[in-house]
Symmetry: C2
Subunit: 394 residues, 2 copies
Amino acid sequence: MTTRLQPDSERFPVVGIVGAGPLARLMIQAAIPLGIGVRVLAERADDPAALVCPNVDIGMPNNARHLREFAARCDVVTFDHELVYLDALAEIEAGGGIVRPGAQALRYARDRLYQRTECKRAGLPVPEFAEAPHFPAIDEFVQRHGWPVVVKSQQGGYDGHGVWVLEDANEARDFFDATAGTGVDLMLERWVRIDRELAVLVARRPGGESVTYPVVETVQRGGICHEVIAPAPVTPEIAARARLLGEQIAELTQAVGVIAIEMFLVGDELLINEVATRPHHSGHFSIEGCATSQFDNHLRAVLDWPLGPTDLLAPFAVMANLLGEGRDSLAPRIPRALAAGPPSARWGGVHPHLYGAEALLGRKMGHVTALGDDLEETRARAAQAAALLTGRAT
Amino acid sequence: MTTRLQPDSERFPVVGIVGAGPLARLMIQAAIPLGIGVRVLAERADDPAALVCPNVDIGMPNNARHLREFAARCDVVTFDHELVYLDALAEIEAGGGIVRPGAQALRYARDRLYQRTECKRAGLPVPEFAEAPHFPAIDEFVQRHGWPVVVKSQQGGYDGHGVWVLEDANEARDFFDATAGTGVDLMLERWVRIDRELAVLVARRPGGESVTYPVVETVQRGGICHEVIAPAPVTPEIAARARLLGEQIAELTQAVGVIAIEMFLVGDELLINEVATRPHHSGHFSIEGCATSQFDNHLRAVLDWPLGPTDLLAPFAVMANLLGEGRDSLAPRIPRALAAGPPSARWGGVHPHLYGAEALLGRKMGHVTALGDDLEETRARAAQAAALLTGRAT
């Protein structure tokens, strides 16, 4: 594999994506114009990306042999998610395979305690945290930081999974009783009163060259992002600090590809929340909203190609997530949603992205992006199309 | 097949594309976000669209059985090119299959004499023309219109194929001697001094609802379009007449999907040159340049879904064609081309679309689009990226 990704290769390169979810599907869209071949490692033949990819390997991201065989068929391996067997990736890298981001960088996204520890060591702002091997650990933590306390699983977790807020000692005791013996390693975090949640994306090449996307606000409900607003409605000074923080973490992780940093804005203080070493739903607005999308720049970065500009094209871009409301398909609702918004205008219309997945309650079925000159009109247009697609409006 | 394209279908619809060339490939890109399934009828497994489509039937567009079997697997059939067996399509339609545009509309693109005759009958401006069953026919034509005379094949032909300019009677005699017995039906056209070539695209739904794209100038070399400039640098009055002419032809043909009308501007007179009943290279600029691309609106139109706005997003959009210069691949030249243009600017960067085809002299390998505020800078940026990709610049 090592000898294949040559800058003077006569072949179009093949990027392998571990995982075939929505992000892989959106990467495929970006790969076609650049002539990049894509192979996906899918768990199921009807995964969102497998439906639109002619080169599908069925296999598991935690199976060393599946990963090895998959990597051997690709010039460079990248990811739809972080829930991958890291030791197997490290072996592939040791054998000369090109894995971007590499196993070491992925650990920042896989292992929350590691991420917090490394960020703190680098002097970057994180909420106060501690390991929580057992219930008594919480006592000492509370004495310093008070109730409530946020408990997180150390590994994996996203979209509110693996995060619990404990209000008092009784809740904490019950929680530790319930989780004892499950093998889930836990950590504690100081609870903070969040004013806004922000996110910033950086795309970084192997040599360190990087570009940074406009800072966005992510609007959450129940731990799941429902809406992304670009640019974030914050002062230029806060936006500049958020960008810088994103760039510092990109450098710290040495990740190659897109890195997404979610942050809490508490007063005018920024605290790192999550780090994802891959394209991220907070960057979906960039497909129509930016000169170069996050998926385009992710592919360019992992191939060590020049990155494209990240400027916003319209004054505002708003992304609304489509979460499944039940078992019925979105398909029959598409025509009504396409008619949402003004029929003709420079930024008119809406841009649905449907992931082709079977509808399930709470599943991410797609997203809709709207561009506009007026933030509230743009939000309303995106929200209206999303409501029509999910069946909340008719 | 007839019962499948129901507005309340729970399934995402499947659009079948006859032909798997660049246009089919670009349609697939547009289909993914809308969740539309695509099946292609490809002549070869390595055709540009077959490389990026998981549902490929290998077959010939002039084989009735191949078309019939293909249509049976799709909700609606559309086209990458017009070189299709029209009688077989008419039979599929007669059997209740949904073919868009239909066989009757495709005839406008297949049969130049029919198109000229029908346009003239409808009072639309075409160059003076006549059938040319044999050499003596040219005499009468020349007596009315003088030399030179343009001779065209009645059927098919594009990119300068099937078009000859004869300067005098000697050239004409030699030409008719050489073509006698080849079975090619010919027609004559008055030669006109072309000031500019313009094109306009209309997307039309089955009920007649339509949207019209900005009028563009197409810059030709040797009968092949090298560059498209949007909007065309003509007066608003001429642009309005060109749009109207496009809409009149869309109505005349009753075509469903995108219809492209190429025109000559002679002084301030517009004359119809070619009619294509499909997406067209003169509309590639719309992928990045317009609120809704021609491929997006083509798919929406053939599915009878609401059409999207066609407004230009940037002041100027320029498309440069990439024609193969030999057998060597474009792949190693991508990184240099991506670096063309300013590294950061709202309309910065370039947007390559590579069709994945093996390089051959004169073959369309892809195109590059640039957006900008200044026409000459935008043209230069697109041309520079195209030169880097084709190896004319290093």
